[in-house]
Symmetry: C2
Subunit: 332 residues, 2 copies
């Protein structure tokens, strides 16, 4: 039975959406055990006998990290916040993986304080899932490391490829470096150095496809995209901003006049399909990798469906033996 | 009369689209003189008396830069390519501004070889126009400079603000630095240093709005966005890729079945409005600034409408006294 440590107190509208997410996930996954950290009385009320007794346990604490805390303040709140206790349960091997919808900076810092790095990995990275024309991609780093060496980018390639393989075991893993041109001579020194390292190493688990430009991120030819944390964060957020801009412009024309409204009504099924394809809840969950246990961060603003999808990511990571894959690949 | 030097031989389907673009532009702008560089016989055939005799002149040359040339190869092709001659005519003050739809790298290098830097500007930058919810933004640098110092980013801020003011003289100019968080302490050292410089300088021509994240690029609160060339290029291309991805998903659902087709037909006017709002031809034209004359690069793949819009950008830049604005601001 996979054991997931859940910080029930992080993110907007918690613990309700967290518990509703677990209840929803439990409906379709009877082989998961949820160790839930937070306010026992409130949590018990919300569970309301909707999770089988053998599938959960509540670890009571009233202290919690707030979304306004700086990482340092969060760590100073002590070892009895729901976030700290959830992470600690993974350190103690009580649980296989930990998930929180709380403060990202705090989650990264408290994880680093509690969990060891994987041997030969220099820095952990924040990765996420992106839709592309053919399916999904893994993108990293998304902001955990502003300055990266070629060794860091190489590590990220190994970690990203291992993560993709854990999530999508039947697919071919194609890795590329995010750059501003596709020719071998383009880019800064760090990227060119990483290109050389990846080209020379012949790893069995993935194909190295060279450089990728921003406009190709979503065409699906590559499914693991590697970048320093500054560029990766800008790319992810720019994609988010562009998607918002376009869908808001679309909404304007579709509801701007009567003909727009009538035709949208007629086309409701198709438009819902479109909406579903772009639904951010489907891609919810950033994964912090490089520590000897993965740490999953659900978006703070998601709802119970989004949180349930992040619980799915947790299960796939454990079933796919992510950490073992990284360890094997990094020592090749 | 504004005099524009036009390289007629660059980009796909040239010189036809270039000449058609000039003819289209001439219809609405009778006070512009086009000095056209390229194959005189072919160009004359295409003009076919559709431009008033007093509004153009052809400078004949059969040599041209190809899109596959490296910048070095392009420079080596000599001083009689249509691109070189067009740039040189600005250097000689025969023309006020130069435009080409040809090889970007070659255009930057040949411009730098021929034109002087503006005093106190260390590096020129490539800027472009982006749509946002309230209108348009200027974004720079888009790839001319991979590594940038805080002085470079400061220069870009001055140049970007001056460009925005030249193009949109009645609007307030709000400048921000592209970063991965909005707090003053976020980002790399160069960005933090630039933040300090911009905060201390009190320039009359624009407001400094601090940092902006990728997801806010298109909300319109800021209209001059400053970045190093690596990050700016990734952001621009990621926005382009995301827009392509979303519109292709939308097309799929709108044409996937009969109901989709019927409702799209009913809604054709609104969908065309939407398409027009996102039409890249409206934003065509990157502007290379920092040299003592601006150089405008039209997208190689645009059509005559797009090229005509870039000619409009040329006119606005000259009417707005861009170079004088930069000189005044940089010496404040």
């Amino acid at each position: 039975m996979i054991k997931i440590a859940v910080d029930a107190m992080g993110g907007d509208n918690s613990p309700k959406k967290i518990i509703d997410g677990i209840i929803h996930h439990h409906k379709f996954n009877k082989d998961i055990f949820y160790k839930i950290f937070g306010d026992q009385i409130e949590i018990n009320k919300l569970i309301d006998n909707k999770i089988a007794k053998n599938n959960f346990e509540i670890s009571n604490t009233l202290n919690k990290v707030s979304s306004e805390d700086s990482p340092l303040e969060a760590a100073k709140r002590g070892k009895d916040t729901s976030m700290w206790l959830a992470i600690e349960s993974v350190k103690k091997k009580d649980c296989d993986i930990v998930i929180s919808a709380g403060n990202t900076g705090a989650l990264l810092v408290i994880s680093k304080l509690n969990l060891k790095m994987i041997d030969n990995i220099d820095k952990p990275a924040l990765s996420a899932l992106w839709p592309n024309k053919k399916g999904m991609s893994v993108v990293l780093d998304l902001g955990a490391n502003i300055d990266c060496s070629s060794k860091n980018l190489f590590d990220f390639s190994i970690m990203g490829a291992s993560l993709f393989k854990s999530l999508y075991p039947t697919q071919t893993t194609n890795v590329a470096l995010l750059n501003i041109g596709s020719e071998e001579l383009k880019g800064n020194e760090t990227i060119k150095e990483t290109f050389k390292i990846l080209k020379e190493k012949k790893l069995d688990d993935f194909n190295f496809k060279g450089y990728i430009e921003g406009n190709e991120l979503m065409n699906g030819n590559v499914n693991v995209i590697v970048s320093d944390g500054f560029t990766g964060n800008v790319a992810l957020k720019t994609a988010e901003g562009t998607a918002n801009f376009i869908t808001s412009e679309l909404k304007k024309v579709l509801s701007g006049n009567l003909m727009g409204k009538i035709s949208s009504f007629l086309n409701i099924q198709n438009l819902n399909k479109f909406k579903k394809r772009l639904d951010p809840r489907l891609y919810n969950g950033a994964i912090f990798i490089g520590l000897d246990s993965p740490v999953v961060k659900s978006h703070g603003g998601t709802d119970y469906i989004g949180f349930s999808n992040s619980l799915d990511v947790c299960c796939k990571i454990i079933k796919g033996n992510l950490i073992d894959k990284i360890k094997r690949n990094i020592s090749l």
